[in-house]
């Protein structure tokens, strides 16, 4: 019934005319009847009218039935409010803009939070997916970083064959390969997945099929990974390289010089956990070559329905001893070494694995932006209070004419809600623009970036936020200025008496709240700036990343057979690169710090270190990080040589048993870097002793936040440092580095490519600068810093505007008082100080409250800080000073106007 009425309200006009025509028809008919009975036309008309009754009454009754009082009132209030807004355009624009800014920022951040943190992953039944994480607290920051320990091939085989908790389970590893045969050789991102991996994610192929176990090829010594005669394409690569042609299934591509059959294409938007790839290959392990070590593979599993993570953890824990008992690291090694690692499963939901690192950041940013919204609301409430004061006469008049208090509050609220909705609408536009900017920048550390959009939930959030905030800022003035004493105001309108303290109370409280919140935000931003500063003082182990050109090159066995030839070719390329004009030096290594390639395939990435002069008493020496470096690597990278010297090419080609070590390892083993020179070490009992010829400064391999692992640097070719250790083995996946002023420029990149191709034209070159890598590792901090800085400056601005508004209003209300004071001989300076003191008093209370709140709240962001405590004294000292200075400025400006008051005019104006 109510619906019928509501709908009719909107077709009121039409129904009205329809009624009219019905009535005319009815009348005409009655009249005709009367005429037929023999009445004269006039009498007939009169008779018809009598029978019908009063037409106006009928119409009135009809119209009443077409009306709903509430909607009518709403409509009336809405039009009234719009008129009032037009009347005071500046006010409206300021309020709507303030709200739009606040709501827009909130909507934008919420849509990021929603897309990244709240929406489920885009895999089928995502809640069953877990990341196979383990912790190894005993591994001394070696294989275990903050992310925990990943799997080795033997672990994967053990878990895949013995588990009871998983429906399917797989591991993956990201690397790069070369596609040749079409145009320039291209370096592509390729991900190896085991046969259980795609079934675990359960995303069907867009064309063709998944890998099956039967796709695995023969063994490929010395690698633990078997041949892979088949590949799958990503959607993007399929479109880019093959134009989305469906007939590619069954065709071959040449990857790493071997033709491989394309068996399938994955759908658009498919991502492997956090990574994107151009190609997929089937990762199958050579059981005979699998060792305990080789922690190189990330695992994903789908839980059996109904299985909890705790049950799955227990299942994994059961399998760890099976793994240790079933495999070894080869003759002469001791499997018990891993017992000291205390490996324990720590499965986590796949979603947490993907978004984990930014969860804290995003919530902190969301909270920050929410606080900015509160400040914006306080500001708008303040403006409305001022306006309500001005409109007091009008409100009193309405009350006097019989409007109930509820009706007036209601109409003021309608006005606020209209303002709120206008702000919200504009805010959505701002949010949309903001998101476009964000996507264009594409913060490197933000996962699921491609999924971010303004969806229905975000729009709903925005509407609710607009309504809530309108009620919040609208209710304060509405209740304050419609109190029982409202009629009393009628008499005193126009008086500019000193305003009582009580009248100021609400506004002062609002300003205090604003200042307090602004202080909290400024402190947070200050802490991030300090964090950034302390990160900048960390020596990462390389210098001037802008001038460091890097490129990753893979010397595949089919292009360059034989370890000695690989090394010779690498030496040639290094020389060619060094001879490019403007190049200071060039070199290569297994990888640069923070490059994030995980571990290097085909060589040992860590192992125990035995020393000749100090045998380890426990018999199970801890594992150390193993890296590989060419002569000149440290000079080129800018890693400081602490003692000794770098290797020479003569030594490398002669396969001399020499190593370099990091400063922390030297100090741990021999006390000082200098003492380490000339000492001997090895990693297996049956290989010759290697002489330590140099010690270099510690390098933050895993990012500036994580401490530098103790590292051994081996020559790029060695007869001993490979998993099989039978013949000379050269590292085939290397990062070349070139130091030059011209790094990153197009002309320089061309010269670099030519230099590489002059040695071998089938090598792919994919360059980047160390700056990109370094910035990426700083990205979480810089992202948070930028967001907090934006929020804090908005807060500061709004807070200052709030103080300015209150003081300048106080000045205008107290003109009469100022006039009297001036007439009685008050000095100008004294008058100014009076108002500045007022502002300072407000700010002082706000700062005091804010400091308390900040001390509590900033603890929540301690995971984002580095090198300082959440109670960093400098930040807590400087921020209040900034706020106080801003306050003085904000109250001094209106105070100056007070002084300009002419006493005669002020007193005579009544």
């Amino acid at each position: 019934m109510i619906w019928g009425r509501v709908i009719d309200v909107f077709r009121r006009r039409r129904l009205d005319t329809e009624l009219e025509s019905q009535l005319t028809y009815h009348l005409d008919a009655l009249e005709a009847e009367a005429r037929a009975r023999g009445l004269s036309p006039d009498d007939a008309r009169a008779a018809a009218r009598r029978a019908m009754g009063g037409l106006t009454q009928v119409q009135d009754a009809y119209r009443d039935q077409l009306r709903i009082p509430v909607i009518d009132a709403l409509w009336q209030d809405g039009r009234y409010a719009l008129r009032a807004m037009r009347h005071n355009l500046t006010f409206t624009v300021v309020v709507v803009l303030t709200l739009a800014l606040g709501i827009g920022a909130n909507a934008a951040v919420f849509s990021v939070v929603n897309s990244v943190l709240l929406k489920p992953l885009s895999y089928p039944r995502p809640e069953e997916l877990v990341a196979l994480r383990q912790i190894a607290p005993g591994a001394q920051g070696l294989a275990s970083s903050a992310d925990g320990l990943v799997l080795s091939p033997s672990m994967y085989l053990t878990y895949a064959e013995n588990n009871r908790a998983f429906e399917s389970l797989g591991v993956w590893v990201a690397t790069s390969s070369t596609v040749t045969g079409v145009g320039e050789p291209e370096q592509v991102r390729i991900i190896g997945v085991t046969d259980g991996f795609l079934p675990a994610l359960a995303v069907p192929a867009a064309a063709g099929r998944w890998f099956v176990a039967g796709d695995a090829g023969g063994p490929r010594p010395p690698s633990v990974i078997r041949q892979w005669p088949t590949v799958m394409l990503s959607y993007g690569y399929w479109q880019r390289r093959f134009g989305g042609d469906r007939s590619v299934i069954g065709r071959t591509v040449i990857v790493d010089s071997i033709p491989r059959e394309i068996v399938g294409v994955m759908p658009q938007g498919f991502r492997i956990v956090t990574a994107e790839a151009d190609l997929l290959f089937l990762l199958a392990f050579d059981r005979g070559r699998a060792t305990l070590a080789g922690f190189n593979y990330q695992g994903v599993a789908r839980l059996k329905p109904g299985t909890t993570i705790a049950q799955a953890n227990a299942d994994m824990a059961r399998m760890v001893p099976i793994w240790m008992a079933s495999w070894s690291d080869g003759p002469g090694t001791d499997s018990r070494a891993y017992e000291t690692w205390n490996i324990a499963p720590a499965l986590r939901p796949l979603k947490q694995e993907i978004v984990g690192s930014v969860t804290d950041v995003l919530w902190v940013v969301m909270a920050t932006i929410g606080l900015v919204m509160l400040i914006a609301c306080a500001n708008v409430a303040n403006l409305l209070l001022v306006r309500a004061e001005v409109r007091q006469k009008e409100l009193s008049l309405r009350a006097a004419l019989g409007a109930s208090r509820g009706r007036i509050v209601w109409s003021l609220l309608v006005e606020s809600v209209l303002l709120g909705l206008m702000g919200g609408a504009l805010g959505v536009g701002l949010a949309y623009a903001g998101l476009r900017v964000l996507l264009a920048i594409g913060p490197a550390n933000l996962p699921r970036l491609n999924e971010i959009s303004l969806d229905a939930r975000t729009l709903g959030f925005t509407v609710v936020l607009s309504l809530l905030s309108s009620v919040l800022f609208g209710l304060i003035p509405a209740l304050k200025y419609t109190g029982p004493r409202i009629s009393a105001a009628l008499g005193s309108i126009g008086r500019t008496a000193s305003v009582s303290r009580e009248r100021h109370h609400v506004r002062s409280v609002l300003v205090v709240v604003q200042v307090a919140i602004a202080l909290v935000l400024l402190v947070s931003a200050g802490l991030m700036i300090r964090t950034f500063q302390s990160i900048r003082t960390v020596e990462p182990g390389f210098t001037e990343p802008d001038r460091l050109q890097m490129m990753r090159i893979f010397f595949s066995g089919s292009v360059v057979p034989g370890a000695e030839r690989v090394t010779r070719m690498q030496n040639d390329i290094q020389d060619k690169l060094a001879s490019i004009p403007g190049v200071t030096s060039a070199a290569f290594g297994s990888q640069m710090p923070m490059e994030g390639f995980g571990l290097n395939l085909g060589v040992l990435n860590f192992g125990p270190v035995l020393t000749e002069d100090r045998p380890d008493p426990s018999g199970t020496p801890p594992m150390r990080s193993f890296k590989y470096a060419s002569p000149g690597f440290f000079r080129t990278a800018g890693t400081r040589l602490v003692a000794g010297r770098e290797m020479t090419w003569t030594e490398v080609h002669g396969l001399r048993p020499i190593v370099m070590i990091s400063e922390s390892l030297a100090r741990e083993l021999w006390g000082t870097p200098a003492a380490a020179i000339g000492k001997h070490l090895r990693h297996l009992p049956d290989v010759p002793w290697h002489e330590v010829i140099g010690v270099v400064q510690d390098v933050r391999e895993n990012g500036v936040y994580q401490s530098a692992p103790p590292t051994v640097y081996w020559p790029s070719i060695s007869a001993y440092v490979s998993p099989s250790a039978v013949r000379p083995n050269a590292i085939r996946q290397v990062t070349f580095i070139v130091r030059s002023e011209r790094a990153g420029t197009e002309g320089f990149l061309n010269q670099v490519r030519q230099a590489v191709w002059s040695v071998n034209s089938s090598l792919p070159v994919s360059p980047r600068t160390m700056r990109e890598v370094y910035d990426r590792s700083l990205a979480p901090t810089s992202f948070t810093l930028v967001m907090l800085a934006i929020a804090a400056s908005m807060a500061l601005l709004l807070g200052v505007v709030g103080i300015y508004g209150v003081i300048s209003y106080a000045v205008s209300q107290r003109r009469r008082e100022i006039g009297i004071r001036a007439a009685l001989g008050a000095q100008q300076g004294e008058l100014k100080r009076m108002f500045v003191r007022h502002g300072l008093a407000l700010a002082g209370v706000g700062v005091a409250i804010g400091l308390g709140a900040a001390a509590g709240l900033t603890r929540l962001m301690s995971t984002l800080l580095y090198g300082i405590t959440p109670l960093d004294p400098l930040t807590y000292a400087v921020v209040p000073v900034i706020l106080v200075i801003a306050t003085v400025l904000a109250s001094y400006l209106p105070a100056r106007r007070a002084v300009a008051v002419d006493p005669v005019e002020a007193l005579g104006s009544e």
Partner: protein
């Protein structure tokens, strides 16, 4: 009453309804015929009747009203109610008559 009339006569326009009601009540009900229209609107808003424009006997445009399923249900309920009321009233009224 209006519903009842519509139920027996099928779709009708305002004039026809007024005439019919006058007829049935044998002019006992001397209402202004105009009051019919607000009542029709109320019934329509309650979804008991629906209306559409049509052409009358004398070829003029007129709005025809007809019952909806909901309206029929309403008649049934109202009739039952009324009969119950009548029965009740009859009992009460019969008693004093018997005493007298």
């Amino acid at each position: 009453m209006v519903l009842r009339t519509l139920a027996t006569m099928g779709p009708q326009h305002g004039l026809g309804l007024a005439k019919r009601i006058l007829q049935v009540s044998e002019s006992l009900l001397d209402l202004n015929q105009g009051t019919l229209y607000p009542a029709l609107l109320r019934l329509e808003q309650r979804r008991w009747i629906k209306s559409r424009w049509g052409v009358s006997d004398n070829n003029r445009k007129a709005k025809f009203y007809e019952l909806t399923a909901r309206g029929r249900r309403q008649i049934r309920e109202e009739t039952e109610n009324w009969e119950l009321t009548v029965a009740l009233m009859a009992k009460f009224l019969a008693k004093p008559a018997g005493e007298r």
